[in-house]
Amino acid sequence: MGTEPEKQDKKTKTRVRMKEQEPAERARNFREVPFGYTPEEAVEEASRCLSCKNPPCREGCPVEVEIPQFIRLIKEGNFLEACYTIKQKNALPAVCGRVCPQENQCEARCIVGKKGDPVAIGNLERFAADYEAEKGEVRIPEKPRATGRKVAIIGSGPGGLTCASDLIMSGHEVTMFEALHKPGGVLVYGIPEFRLPKVIVEREVGYIRKLGVEVVTNAVIGRLFTVDELLNEKGYDACFIATGAGLPMFLGIPGENFNGVYSANEFLTRANLMKAYLFPEYDTPIKRPGRVAVFGAGNVAMDSARVALRLGAEKVYLVYRRSEAEMPARKAEIHHAKEEGVEFVLLTNPVRFLDDGNGNLRAVECIRMELGEPDESGRRRPVPVEGSEFEMEIDVAIPALGAKANPLLLKTLPDLRLNRRGYIIAEEETGMTSKRGVFAGGDIVTGAATVILAMGAGKKVARAINGYLKWKYWDVSGFIEQ
């Protein structure tokens, strides 16, 4: 492919739109929503980039991908090199190109964005990664000299995957333990197929396996082995805990255990990990909902609502106690959900669930809210409007209120210090914890956050583990008060 002629002066203010399935059609299938750029579209979008000398976008990226560099390679038609360039910093570009909140990160800082749409960095990242996969020219780097050191990684989400790939490239023996039967963490059990096709996650895990990482599924650490056993009996020199924030939260209102009330985790796990949307080809059942209410307004809520639509629901309500401006989900996801027909019921809070007399959900009683004074977070606090209670007929309810730390593993580690909320206290730059040889990072340290932040943590921890294995130096007195 030849280099496109430079048209520096004819920069458009709008980005090349990525084509996607029509809302009415896609709301009834599980296929991916956007189609991805064609090479022509990618080159056109890439040529909107100004190749800044001091690119602000790169600082907006938690793992500092060489953004202008890879975009220039796309512009030049050198798509494979573009992908290799991204991969120097980010092992999972096909994932990040799809699910990163670019609008708050790299794209938020783009200079072009000051006068029009910022350069579509995420779309380009996705294009480069998909191109590499399609061409099948995935580069397996040469194996470095073996150090004879062994590292155990607990959890195979983005944090664990990133750390594993960096450590194996440093010559250590790496084993990644995963409690579920499939590796990938939230990428396989949480984020739905239509946003992140599972073949992509499988491909990334396959790549990490090819690098030499041993992936052990069905291994619930804390039960099958303890961390102390890994370190003292199984010969691991260090351990990275990247178990995520996988404990579901409920509303704590009456009737929450009626049939039809699902935590978002359960609803999404059935649909995504267990492929219940393919029931009865797959054995796991899920309630084919008629009318659904999802409570919350983060990405998890949007995903739950959109999965419900695709399972054939006739109505999906998204019930949120604040207004649309305060919704924490990505703008693009809010937009997608609305386009597909999710109805937003704002300034509304559930009070209790009602059943049909046999324990099956029939309705939810809600109360209207109004915005009062700002709270600690600076957002105006919603307060109930007295006497405004009303009922909504539903047969499935999905509280999507975020997650907490799962204590299953942590309670087998009495010498590991946790914070008030039950997450592991770890030093930010190294992931070192109060227990020698044990590192932690990702959602289990920060609470529910993002894919790229978990990856960033995995990277920092890999660097710190390298240092630790060399010098055996451990000092955490600076941040863990004794």
């Binding site: 619930v220 039960r223 404990l247 579901p248 049939n259 054995d283 796991t284 309630k287 799962n406």
Partner: protein
């Protein structure tokens, strides 16, 4: 992949598997369960660890064929493999020398009660056991239970073996006769556990039941296994499956067990049709 080392038909619809699972066997304790998935399209189902052999690295599990997954499982043979086996899950049963205890096993619940009875016996308890089933052909492990009990009572609903009674009848007699019984353990269908608890409540004897709510992961991640105990929501897989029976909301448990009746029927009929039967 986990190999089935031994298969034994215990009764008309109850099968025993010995599974090669060295690491799980090493950690298994009475009261624990596994979650298994037969193959890629399969669902995850929990089964109690009915026995384990740490030396040989094997687990024994006993299951009743009730729907698609358990029927499919029953078609597997020695030398076949199960794709995924996860465990040991659930809290360990609380074992100590209480004095006099009663172990009640109903139907397939005889299997999970066995390792608990054995551990209680080893701990020095005087163990009364009551095992019951609808009819003789559904009973199993009478010999095993006898070995670990000081006294064993067998009941069947139709009197085809042992006493013609439901398990609560001899249980009540024992409670009357031995006022120093300290603990009752009951495992079986929810309805049986409910009535055992109603019986023991009258005599104020602490009763531990093992709840079988519908599960997926078995690690506290989905919350699908919610049960109510003492008015509080608990996750059966990590907070249990053993709970204080006098505090359990059995009606809720039974309602929740029925959540997917229609889907289960569809799955089972489709399965039978595919077998051409």
């Amino acid at each position: 992949m986990f190999e089935i080392l031994k298969k034994q038909e215990l009764s008309e619809n109850i099968t025993l598997f010995e599974i090669d699972a060295k690491d799980i066997a090493k950690k298994a304790e009475p009261g624990n369960f596994i979650v298994l998935r037969i193959h890629e399209e399969g669902e995850r189902i929990p089964l109690t660890i009915a026995d384990f052999d740490r030396e040989r690295g094997t687990l024994t599990t006993v299951f009743q064929k009730v729907g698609k997954t358990t029927h499919h499982l029953g078609t597997l043979n020695e030398g076949d493999f199960i794709s995924d086996v996860i465990g040991p899950l659930g809290i360990n049963s609380h074992i100590e020398n209480f004095g006099k205890v009663v172990c009640v096993g109903g139907g397939v619940g005889i299997a999970p009660v066995y390792p608990i009875a054995r551990a209680l016996k080893h701990a020095g308890n005087h163990v009364f056991s009551i095992i019951g089933a609808r009819t003789k052909s559904l009973l199993f492990w009478e010999d095993r239970m006898r070995q670990v009990s000081d006294e064993l009572i067998v009941t069947t609903d139709d009197g085809s073996c042992g006493r013609k009674a439901v398990v609560t009848i001899p249980l009540e007699e024992l409670l009357k006769e031995h006022t120093d019984i300290k603990l009752v353990i009951a495992i079986g269908p929810a309805i049986m556990m409910k009535f055992v608890c109603k019986t023991t409540e009258k005599y104020n004897v602490k009763t531990v039941v093992s709840l079988n709510s519908i599960m997926i992961d078995g690690t506290g991640m989905c919350g699908g296994c919610r049960v109510e105990v003492g008015g509080e929501t608990k996750f059966c897989c990590v907070d249990g499956p053993d709970f204080d029976g006098h505090k359990v909301d059995f009606d809720l448990l039974m309602e929740r067990q029925k959540m997917y009746l229609d889907e289960e029927r569809t799955a089972f009929e489709r399965y039978k049709a595919a077998l051409g039967g």
